[in-house]
């Protein structure tokens, strides 16, 4: 597929707010991305015109009830068929922050046995009980299943900001060990919070900004084509977005966030 032919849909509803910077990241790589209101795609039923679907950050429908819950249910009822097909054909679905919450609430992540009826995990309130906007380190854990991180070596450490109040990834207590084992067996674990030197956070604040189970920051589905993460790669795309760029002798062109967007585009171009 030619780069110019890639079609990206950045879906939004009332309360979505990271669509513009997400589009900018694709544009930077020469890929056209459309920001589309969910009302429009539900009406026109043209989701399958796109190759990449992004659920960006924000507070969809105010995140009333629980972060991502309303939109998660809504996409299942209004876009369920198309979304299933989109996934079956191996097209790419990315959820950033609120988007990750939506994918989990909709049962797309983790998909141990396909889309689940009810959520198998949750993104609960941060242990600090407040909103956290800070830069954190992530360790890449994936052995190659995740399409979105192909540009990153396993064990590599990357730098990105988080900004959320509900980002503590958890499994139901009784299934914790079983589900974690499955994540490992299926190569679904993608990012874990770690410190500057790459040592896992082990829940320690603020290295882990939210106290997530097993320091989990992002996971993909069993096929590696659906991926969600709490940190914001679109805010770590350029060197000047880094929190310490003024300390460096030269401003980097790109930040680590760009690696995710490059991985997606690479994959589609090679396909």
């Amino acid at each position: 597929m030619k780069k110019e032919d890639i079609k990206v849909c950045i879906l939004r509803v009332g309360g979505t707010n990271c669509d513009a910077e997400t589009r900018r990241a694709f544009n930077e790589l020469g890929v056209v991305a459309n920001v589309v209101h969910a009302n429009k795609i539900i009406k026109e039923k043209n989701l399958l015109d796109y190759d990449i679907l992004v659920f960006p950050g924000g507070f969809s429908y105010g995140d009333y009830v629980r972060a991502g819950a309303i939109w998660g249910k809504r996409i299942k009822t209004k876009l369920g068929y198309e979304l299933r097909k989109f996934d079956e054909e191996g097209r790419l679905v990315l959820g950033i922050c609120n988007g990750f919450q939506v994918l989990v609430e909709a049962g797309l992540l983790p998909d141990f046995e396909g889309f689940s009826e009810s959520p198998k995990a949750a993104l609960a309130s941060n242990t600090s009980i407040k909103y956290e906007c800070r830069w954190i380190y992530l360790k890449h854990e994936n052995s190659g299943n995740c399409i979105f991180t192909k540009r990153i070596q396993k064990g590599e450490r990357i730098f990105m900001p988080v900004a959320h109040a509900e980002g503590r990834f958890i499994f139901p207590k009784k299934n914790e060990n079983e589900y974690l084992k499955r994540l490992y067996c299926n190569d679904q674990l993608v990012f874990r919070y770690c410190d500057e030197k790459g040592k896992y956070a082990a829940g320690k604040y603020p290295i882990s900004p939210n106290g997530a189970f097993h320091d989990i920051a992002g996971i993909c589905n069993t096929d590696g084509n659906v991926f969600g993460l709490m940190p914001h790669p679109e805010r770590a795309c350029y060197g000047w977005q880094l929190p310490d760029w003024t300390e460096q002798s030269q401003i980097l062109r790109y930040g680590d966030g760009m690696l995710l967007f490059e991985s997606m585009v690479d994959y589609l171009v090679k396909r």
Partner: protein, 788 residues
């Protein structure tokens, strides 16, 4: 006196014919109009000339429009001395607007005309900026008050067709450890207010996807009864899309949320003192916030702007429709007709006056030619936002309001927008504080550590990180710098994708100086806001003023206000920095007395290329540290004196070389010589160098003997004096000669060096070691108060 009309809804006619002055005041009180006897008499005369009595809707309209909050009558009125001689005509015209007028700068595109001031940015883009106060509501309900304060100021920016790109917040509270038993009845504890206000601001900005990038939190006993909440918003707009041309025949469209009983009498409530009954009486004056509604509204408004479908816009803030509709018509030299029945309500059975003056949030009033109406309504629908035509702009200059087929208000706009001039007495007497006498402490290291942990200096990281300051992805210089979260002087935003040009946002506020002299408080606040801006590379700076003061009907309060406003004029002229917008909040009084008079100065500067921005942290060991500007024995109102429980008398002044110093800093940054820069403010030289050191993880040595000074012989005074117009800069030794050339003629001196060792060592006037501490000790002291 009140006659209920025989109608299918509640409407009263109030008998103003042959009633006494006492009865007029009773009417004002009973209806919550907050009008004075002079204003009630003018109202009576108007209706006598019309040979009829007013309806409640009409009286409420007058009450809202003439309120201090909406009309700013103190700032527009006459000020006289206690013996009755006129001091000046209008504080606003004489001081604030006058400086801007005299400076006459071409880049000030639209100032003091609208909800927000507009200045030029580049290539047809302009920046809009507004800072609001939301003190009264926040005192009653801190979360809702602060959230709707943010929501309101965002709409001010939308009200000039700008896309919101950043928010600011400056907050003042009583001490968080204030004794509960001392709290007057009806006042809420500072800790409760602090938690609620911070949560409210984060809730609105975060939910709307606008980064909150700059601010301050200040503590003083004077805020126990009167919390101060300043909310700011900055927007960007292509100036050719700005339209303010409402015409006769245009449709009036109410867009956004539904109208309810929340926010009834918000403005009249904001124009009186707080009492123990405020909560009971005025709870309904606080609005309810729904940021998602405003997010949808914003998207729709930017779409109709880009498609050029409208002729005018204004936000619904204080006074709701009653204020916005009349104002828009009056400004456009036409009349307006509104049908209240068309408005979507939150509750059944609202009286027409309630619908008319409700301050329910997330609403805007738009005017548009009839032919574009369908397109506009479609756009709102596509965003799941409401918009309804509620009336039209008419010939003549009459405001007409109907409800269910009945006329409920008919008012001449020329009457409504020409309230009687207010005359107030101003009388300022210089307070007498003596300069304290106490020996120089032996352990200055522990003094520095104590200062770093005082609430006004300590890191506010635990608050700042609850605000999303990264959303939109354009925050080049964050409020917190790098690994150690150092305190950057300004935030820098890069608003356009294809340009390196940026804006620097900073603020300055010194309430404690005002206790000695409001004039020097204002001058110092301007100097501080400018210093913060200049430190990161900002120039061509525009200012915003926000006054929070006590009851202006009390001569001493107004006396101080006049002095502060005079300094605003004087120093806007000196620095050639015009005021472009502002807002005052008066009547901040509680059973504990007046609020500490507080002037917030916000500064908006231009950064020609964001890649040259300078941050606060020391960069390289062995670089030289220069101190630019002179240190005077100015500790009056300083944090050091406060620590020792003194106020003092020697308040920091602003001197004639201030402008030249700032220009030299800018030139030195442009030449590329400055590696890091920090202004000297609360806690003086010692706090500033400590912050630079622990922010960069580099130690430093400093020699007080080399500090440019006048009349100081004590180490502690040199360390902690808060003299204005001073900067610390880090420079590579190889640029020493160039620095000397650039700095010729202004006070400056190489005072020390950045060091690899993790210590800050300061040597006194006689070269003895007086401060010696590890960076981690300093950093911990700074962070321990509020945590991270």
């Amino acid at each position: 006196m009140y006659l209920r009309k025989d109608l299918p809804f509640e409407l009263f006619v109030i008998n103003l014919m042959d009633v006494t002055a006492k009865q007029l005041i009773e009417v004002s009180n009973e209806l919550g109009l907050a009008l004075s006897i002079k204003e009630m008499k003018a109202t009576q005369e108007y209706f006598l000339s019309k040979k009829r009595n007013p309806t409640d809707v009409e009286l409420q309209t007058i009450g809202q429009t003439w309120s201090e909050h909406c009309y700013h009558k103190t700032f527009k009125g006459d000020v006289v001395s206690p013996d009755g001689t006129l001091i000046l005509g209008s504080l606003f015209q004489t001081y604030i607007a006058q400086a801007t007028k005299e400076l006459n700068l071409s880049w000030c595109i639209d100032v003091f005309k609208d909800n927000a001031g507009i200045v030029d940015f580049e290539r047809g883009y302009s920046i809009a900026f507004k800072v609001e106060t939301h003190n009264h509501p926040s005192a009653i309900e801190p979360f809702g008050g602060a959230a709707t304060g943010t929501g309101g100021v965002i709409r001010d920016v939308l009200g000039v067709w700008a896309k919101p790109i950043a928010c600011t917040d400056v907050l003042c509270f009583g001490p968080l450890n204030y004794a509960y038993e001392k709290l007057p009845l009806g006042s809420k504890h500072p800790k409760h207010l602090f938690n609620g206000v911070v949560a409210g601001i984060g809730h609105y900005g975060n939910n709307m996807g606008i980064p909150t990038v700059n601010g301050a939190i200040y503590f003083d006993e004077g805020y126990v009864g009167n919390v101060v909440v300043y909310c700011g918003c900055i927007g960007i707009l292509p100036i050719n899309k700005f339209v303010r041309a409402t015409k006769i025949g245009d449709i009036a469209i109410l867009a956004g949320g539904k109208t309810g009983r929340d926010g009834i009498h918000g403005v009249t409530f904001a124009s009186v003192e707080l009492t123990e009954k405020s909560e009971e009486v005025s709870r309904s004056a606080v609005q309810i916030a729904n940021p998602i509604e405003e997010e949808k509204l914003t998207r729709a408004i930017l779409k109709i702007r880009d498609q050029e479908l409208c002729s005018g816009i204004t936000d619904l803030g204080g006074g709701g429709l009653s204020s916005a509709a009349g104002e828009m018509a009056y400004r456009s030299k036409c009349g307006i007709y509104v049908d209240l029945e068309r408005i979507h309500l939150k509750y059944l059975n609202m009286s027409p006056w309630e619908i008319w003056i409700s301050e329910s949030q997330e609403r805007m009033l738009i005017s548009a030619p009839k032919k574009n109406l369908d397109k506009i309504l479609d756009i709102f629908e596509s965003e799941d936002a409401e918009a309804i035509p509620i009336g039209r702009f008419t010939e003549g200059n009459t405001l007409r309001v109907n409800y269910k087929g009945y006329k409920v208000a008919v008012l001449d706009l020329n009457f409504l927008f020409k309230p009687p001039t207010v005359t107030r007495i101003a009388n300022w007497t210089e307070p007498k504080f003596s300069d304290p006498v106490f020996p120089e402490p032996k352990d200055l290291t522990s003094c520095l550590l104590k200062l770093l942990s005082t609430p006004n200096i300590a890191s506010k990281e635990s608050v700042i990180r609850t605000y999303d300051h990264e959303v939109q992805g354009n925050t080049v210089l964050k409020p917190l710098q790098g690994k150690y979260s150092g305190p950057n002087d300004s935030a820098v935003i890069k608003p356009l994708q294809d340009s390196w040009r940026g804006i620097a946002i900073s603020c300055g506020m010194n309430p404690n100086y005002g206790k000695i002299d409001p004039y020097w408080m204002a001058a110092s606040s301007i100097d501080e806001a400018l210093r913060n801006n200049v430190s990161v590379g900002g120039r061509r700076i525009a200012l915003l003023d926000n006054f929070t003061w006590g009851n202006p009907e009390k001569p001493d309060r107004l006396g101080g206000l006049v002095r502060a406003a005079q300094a605003c004029y004087d120093f806007a002229k000196v620095f050639r920095t015009p005021f472009v917008s502002g807002k005052d909040s008066l009547y901040n009084e509680s059973p504990l007395g007046p609020v500490t008079p507080t002037l917030l100065i916000t500064a908006l500067g231009i950064i020609p290329d964001v890649r040259r921005v300078v941050s606060v942290d020391f960069k390289h060991p062995e670089n030289l540290i220069y101190l630019v500007g002179e240190t005077h024995p100015e500790l009056g109102g300083s944090e050091y004196f406060k620590l020792n429980r003194f106020i003092g008398n020697g308040v920091p002044r602003v001197r004639s070389e201030a402008k030249r110093i700032m220009e030299t800093i800018t030139a030195t940054i442009d030449a590329g010589y400055i590696k890091s820069c920090h202004d000297l403010s609360e806690g003086g030289l010692a706090v500033a160098i400590a912050e630079m050191a622990f922010s960069g993880g580099c130690g430093a040595e400093l020699y007080l003997g080399r500090v440019p000074k006048s009349n100081i012989k004590r180490n502690d005074y040199l360390l902690f004096s808060e003299s204005n117009s001073r900067f610390l800069i880090e420079v590579s030794e190889k640029y020493k000669d160039q620095i000397e050339t650039l700095m010729k003629g202004i006070p400056h001196s190489s005072v020390g060096r950045v060091k690899r060792k993790n210590r800050l060592s300061i040597y006194g006037i006689n070269n003895e070691l007086i401060v010696d501490a590890e960076l981690s000790t300093l950093r911990n002291a700074w962070k321990s108060t509020f945590g991270d």
